[in-house]
């Protein structure tokens, strides 16, 4: 062969370091992977998978508690097992080919096949059929889940959910069938066994409304009226989360769903927004709330929001750097389990941290970034701790 100098293949190996003992490692690995070990490994892998699918986790899509999530899970489960079968078959074939047809010393050139029409048609047609089957089922499920079933007609509960950076607002246009309007935030209360029809809106960026155990997510888009429905089969607390990236505190935009019995729900609606009993300390807090604290600028505490005020808050939020933003409606705040968008338990200590500097609980939130009292050098409130204590007293009497 006529080869140019740098090209000479037969020149001695020039690698100056010792050969890496890869082959030995491979050999001992191969031995290890036989017989009992392999079985043990298989069992380990399977049990890992079972442990890893955790239906009890708060937001697990496996722990369904309502028909919407159940149908979605059923579809997924069937699909998953089909995929597992395809996986085993195809990876098995790959592995088999790799082992069975590995090169052996002195092996002649293998037969030079170029293709096989029958085979190629087969593996085009079989997946096509499989996929069309699954596809048609998906489409029927899609339409089935689009609206609550006809049987639920007349017995549904309407809720309008509005996404804000970074909390959820819930409005019941007709909470009890008699036109009672309730506006609340971050904790959604619904009766068990009744279909809830949710109207999804946003007044800033795109968010997404998701309660994994009850229903898959639908986005809250500022220009759309999206809809979603769900029904809870059992009472209890469920966890929801914003699932579309919406800025700094997206991770901490959560909410709770309290599924109550119909009686509990009715009692809650009937008692909602009654004037709270205020102790002397709480009255002092109320004064701070309406005065020095400037809390009323952003928060409503007595019933539903007035649309004009809401619009004004939003306007202020978009147009100025400080001062005002839409804040959660805090009527009956003390009856909630958590605050700051489902993030943290509602109690004295946590409220103190929040009111002293909300950044310590939820970095980036618009209370800290906008409220005048936090525009200080270190971000801590300009109120005194006495005023804060009074505020806490007041907030905890809101029930």
């Amino acid at each position: 062969m006529l080869l140019s100098p740098p090209d000479r293949a037969d020149s001695p190996a020039q690698v100056s370091f010792r050969r890496f003992p890869m082959n030995n490692i491979l050999k001992s690995t191969k031995q290890w992977f036989q017989g009992k070990h392999l079985l043990a490994l298989g069992i380990l892998a399977l049990s890992l998978v079972l442990v890893a699918c955790d239906a009890n986790a708060k937001q697990s899509t496996f722990g369904t508690a309502g028909p919407v999530a159940e149908k979605q899970l059923l579809l997924f489960n069937v699909l998953m097992w089909v995929m597992v079968a395809v996986f085993v078959l195809v990876e098995g074939a790959l592995l088999y080919a790799a082992i069975r047809f590995r090169r052996r010393p002195g092996q002649p050139l293998p037969k030079q096949t170029h293709g096989n029409t029958v085979l190629e048609l087969t593996w085009t047609i079989i997946p096509t059929i499989l996929i069309l089957g699954l596809g048609i089922w998906s489409v029927t499920t899609l339409f089935e889940l689009d609206k609550p079933p006809a049987s639920a007609a007349g017995n549904t509960l309407d809720v309008t959910v509005t996404g804000h950076q970074w909390w959820f607002e819930f409005e019941y246009p007709n909470a009890d069938g008699n036109g009672t309007v309730i506006t609340t935030a971050n904790e959604l209360r619904v009766p068990v066994g009744r279909a809830v029809e949710v109207l999804l809106q946003s007044d800033d960026v795109i968010h997404s409304f998701w309660i994994p155990k009850l229903a898959g997510k639908v986005d809250m888009v500022p220009t759309r009226n999206n809809r979603l429905w769900f029904l809870a089969d059992e009472t209890g607390t469920f966890y929801g989360q914003c699932a579309e990236f919406c800025g700094t505190a997206h991770a901490q935009m959560k909410f709770l769903v309290q599924v109550l019995t119909q009686e509990e729900y009715d009692a809650w609606v009937a008692g909602f927004g009654q004037t709270p009993q205020l102790s002397a300390a709480a009255q002092a807090g109320q004064q701070v709330f309406n005065g020095a604290g400037g809390c009323v600028v952003c928060h409503t505490v007595n019933g539903s929001d007035n649309p004009a005020i809401v619009a004004g808050r939003m306007q202020g939020f978009l147009n100025t750097e400080v001062g005002i933003a839409p804040g959660p409606n805090m009527t009956d705040l003390a009856t909630r389990q958590t605050f700051a968008a489902g993030l943290i338990d509602l109690n004295r200590e946590n409220l103190r941290v929040w009111l002293t500097n909300p950044e310590d609980i939820k970095p980036g939130n618009h209370m800290a970034s906008r409220a005048t009292i936090y525009q200080t050098a270190d971000g801590r409130t300009s109120l005194t701790q006495t005023q804060v204590s009074a505020l806490i007293e007041y907030l905890l009497s809101l029930k």
Binding site: Q201, P222, T223, N225, Q315
Partner: protein, 223 residues
């Protein structure tokens, strides 16, 4: 295949050989134009999606002047004819023809741009700026990018004209003129689409009557 055993098969081709016989630069221009189709396609799609979505006036029906733009469209179309003549003159090596027709193309293209400047200015006087409403936004963006394409074409043709005046254009440079022509014709065709959609069809659009993308209940959105 006949080649000496023990040799790598090779062949002799002259230096203008291409697989398809097409010139590279011409193929490049076609590829570029297909890309540009999607560029304008996306801009036009944006315009169409936002038709009738403007929340405040002026609306197309208030200010679009179809007769005026028909004239400028006609002029632009004629420039394509002149471009064809310029290429023909190049192929014949008709030096006077080259200069004449290139100059005619440029003058007509420039007239079109002149009309566009006039139109933009008139719209501005009537209160339509790029940030006035969605009509202004999409209209100025789409026609503006088209105008930029025309302007680029004018610069290109001017350079060709200068070469022509120096006597450097002839049958040997036929491809240079042809490629410029391809571009010029494309820009014309795009304008026909724009003219049809924005003026002949969309020119009568009024305010948000026919239903908004945005649900009306959400229109109380803060500004």
């Amino acid at each position: 295949m006949a080649y000496a055993s023990g040799q790598l098969p090779t062949t002799d081709v002259d230096h203008t050989y291409t697989t398809t016989g097409l010139n590279h630069r011409k193929l490049l221009m076609w590829t570029f134009l297909s890309s540009d189709c999607l560029f304008f396609g996306a801009l036009i799609a944006t315009y169409m999606v936002y038709r009738g979505q403007s929340l405040v006036g002026p609306y197309p029906i208030d200010i679009i002047d179809i007769p005026l733009t028909t004239i400028s469209t006609f002029v632009l179309l004629c420039s394509s004819f002149a471009m064809v003549q310029a290429l023909a003159a190049t192929n014949r090596n008709d030096q006077r023809g080259i200069q004449l027709w290139l100059l005619a193309t440029i003058l007509m293209g420039a007239t079109f741009i002149g009309f566009q400047i006039y139109e933009f200015n008139a719209f501005r006087m009537e209160g339509l700026k790029i940030d006035t409403n969605l009509f202004g936004t999409t209209f100025f963006t789409l026609t503006g990018f088209h105008g930029a394409h025309v302007t680029l074409g004018l610069v290109w043709l001017t350079i060709l004209l200068i070469m022509g005046r120096k006597g450097k254009l002839g049958p040997a440079q036929s491809l240079d003129v042809e490629i410029a022509g391809l571009y010029w014709h494309f820009v014309d065709i795009v304008w026909i689409v724009i003219f049809t959609l924005l003026y002949l069809i969309g020119g009568f659009d009024a305010g948000p009557t026919a239903g908004l993308l945005i649900e009306p209940s959400l229109l109380s959105l803060p500004t």
